[in-house]
Amino acid sequence: MAITSIKNLKEFSTTNDRFEGAHTLCPGCAHSMIVRELMNCTDDNLVIATNTGCLEVSTAVYPFTSWDTSWIHIGFENAATAAAGAEAMFKARKKKGTLKDNNASTKFVAFGGDGSTYDIGFQWLSGAIERGHDFTYICLDNENYANTGGQRSSATPIGATTSTAQAGSHSYGKKEKKKDLVAIMAAHGAPYVAQLAPNKWKIMAKGFQKALETEGPCFINTVSPCCTEWKFDPKDTIGLADLATDSLMFPVYEIIDGHELNILYRPKNIITVEEYMAAQGRYKHLFKPEYRHIIDEVQKQVNKNWEMLQRREEARI
């Protein structure tokens, strides 16, 4: 059952605490905020699967665990399938009546970083969504392989420098566009797909609740600013998320049944991508004269994407 009173952040952030504060994520990491929001927005039983990555290595270091609910990690790529397998067993046991509590409402959630979601776990995610398991997959998108020291993933945007797509005298960093995974997941026909952000916590909590309440496979991409690899002060995480949503680098929207698009947050004052980039060390080189055109290029792409999202929303198809 959903917790309905999402009014007071202080109250909400401490309700129903099934994710312990004791973990080893970097100070300023947005992952724990997003995970806590998910776990605090429902009273239902939760089975959580997690891909290998920052979240996993920081929350289940034997003999400790931060998870006060059922939790499983298998490998880098297969949290979606772990959740799917558990969900299949739930159905089988419910039919046979072998569950400890046959009437309890139970939800299945998988977490992965962008490396494990956009790249190595893409096939497992696609398969689990296509098969229609009743679960929600949440990608903690920090646009790089942060756990292994900041390598490029297919979620890394153009122009960011990473340890495997380096900026230098002959390179402006990553050359390729970010993969549009939200569109790909919507194209699977999943009943609920969204892109959400922790700074818009009420919208995010409602989106999570909607996903958990929706029968069938749901996918949510969340922006998770990474102070370590994006290179900003850990105290500025939510500020960075504000810049991400307000520059429309990360528009906040949902797609229902693969076609009905709703924009969930419209910034009153849209800021430039330049302002967003200037707040992070990973884009520092773009402010050199020879690479400034990349900032303009990204701004054009962002404008085009925002126009596309608005038109799709207006079209109501």
Partner: protein, 410 residues
């Protein structure tokens, strides 16, 4: 409640069908699977049992074997009975998750229809996939025919799910020769089979929310070693449970199984050690040679893992010369079974001579005549008191003979 399935006292089943009937009788809750020749019919049959109401379970047809085993891990941690099937490349793709399944101590049953590994691509039976799993922390039982594929699959659930074991179990059968050859099989009645396996008893159940569990934690140099040591001890100690389960199964079926099967070994001077369908071929050869006055016998590990170091030694310590047959390309080493049998025999008083044959790769036929030739060669070694050929030879290979290494004992 599952529909009743009509069974005769004697059925004509191939190995795949036999294995799938065992899955039906055990009322497996979840099968997550991906098709691959020659094991495909096992999961197809499970799917058809679900579709026709003979099983109250979930059949999850996933997008790869890696996902198949991943789904099995998630399902098993959720506290029910889980099985799947695979072969060859599918087995190779699953390998990462095989280690994770055993590390999490999940009693999944995997029926492996043995097939060669590419390249070159080959769909026929050899033991490359079986050998690939030998360090994965799974119990590995070997069936030599369709009846045994059925029997071992039932036993596998009971062994793996025993709370003092808590390990996944593979049941191996040879691709095509067993999996696709119809033979007489005597199944147990449904009720007898189910009662033998018993209701699944969950342990550390992810769906018991009164006691949350964390599966697949991180450990580094501080704890990883202790976990792996406990796991190793569990698989070595499973020997007692395996023997108990075999004894209980004998009472119900009249069919007696041991961790190491011995045929005509009471007075044997020469022996073949082999796995799979080759065992039956070798038994015919040994019988014929006995008529010629050669005291030949056959030894076959029923249990490939835990490796029956103790029982192998017992079976072979009074022989003079032993040929160990490996149906897997050793890739620059002696065959794995040869190495393990030799290591066991090294600590016996008489230390029989041991030679190694690589044979039957990619389904190359292994004949009674070749088995006889190999046993006769052992006889020659025994008479000479040392190995008179190369220690490792290829059997049944086209072209010039291929062999490596000579003895220093002669």
């Amino acid at each position: 409640m599952a529909e009743k399935f009509d069974l005769q006292e004697r059925e004509v089943w191939d190995g795949n069908y036999a294995a799938s009937q065992a899955l039906r009788q055990a009322q497996v809750d979840v099968v997550a699977a991906y098709p691959i020749t020659p094991s495909t019919p096992i999961v197809e049959n499970y799917g058809s049992y679900v579709a026709n109401g003979y099983i109250d379970g979930e059949f999850v047809m996933v997008e790869s074997e890696h996902a198949a085993m991943s789904g099995c891990v998630g399902a098993s941690a959720a506290g029910g009975r889980v099985a799947t099937a695979t072969s060859s490349q599918g087995f190779a793709l699953m390998t990462e998750v095989l280690y994770q399944a055993s590390g999490m101590r999940l009693p999944i049953v995997l029926t492996v229809v043995n097939r060669a590994l590419a390249s070159p691509l080959n769909v026929r039976g050899d033991h490359s996939d079986m050998y690939l799993g030998r360090d994965s922390g799974w119990i590995q039982l070997d069936a030599f025919n369709a009846q045994e594929a059925y029997d071992m699959t039932l036993c596998a659930f009971k062994i793996g799910e025993n709370h003092s074991v808590r390990l996944p179990v593979m049941v191996h059968q040879d691709g095509f020769i067993t999996s696709h050859t119809a033979q007489n099989v005597y199944p147990l009645p449904d009720e007898v089979a189910y009662n033998f396996v018993g209701d699944f008893q969950p342990l550390d159940d992810m769906l018991d929310f009164s006691r949350p569990v964390t599966y697949g934690a991180q450990t580094e140099e501080d704890w990883h070693f202790e976990h792996k040591a406990r796991q190793h001890k569990a698989i070595i100690d499973s020997r007692a449970v395996i023997e108990e389960v075999f004894a209980e199964f004998e009472k119900l079926s009249g069919r007696k199984y041991k961790r190491v099967e011995s045929y005509m070994m009471e007075d044997a001077e020469v022996a073949i050690v082999a796995l799979g369908t080759t065992v039956e071929t070798a038994i015919v050869a040994a019988r014929e040679l006995r008529e010629e006055g050669i005291k030949a016998g056959i030894v076959a590990p029923r249990c490939f893992r835990p490796f029956p170091y103790d029982a192998i030694r017992e079976a072979l310590e009074n022989t003079k010369s032993v040929a160990v047959l490996d149906r897997s390309s050793p890739g620059g080493a002696m065959g794995a079974l040869f190495n393990e049998v030799s290591a066991a025999l090294y600590t016996t008083a008489n230390r029989p001579l041991v030679t190694n044959f690589i044979y039957g790769l990619g389904g190359r036929d292994f004949s009674v005549a070749e088995a006889k030739r190999i046993l006769k060669e052992q006889k020659a070694h025994a008479e000479a008191g040392h190995i008179t050929t190369d220690i490792q030879q290829f059997s049944g290979l086209r072209g010039p003979k291929l062999g490596f290494f000579q003895t220093k004992r002669g």
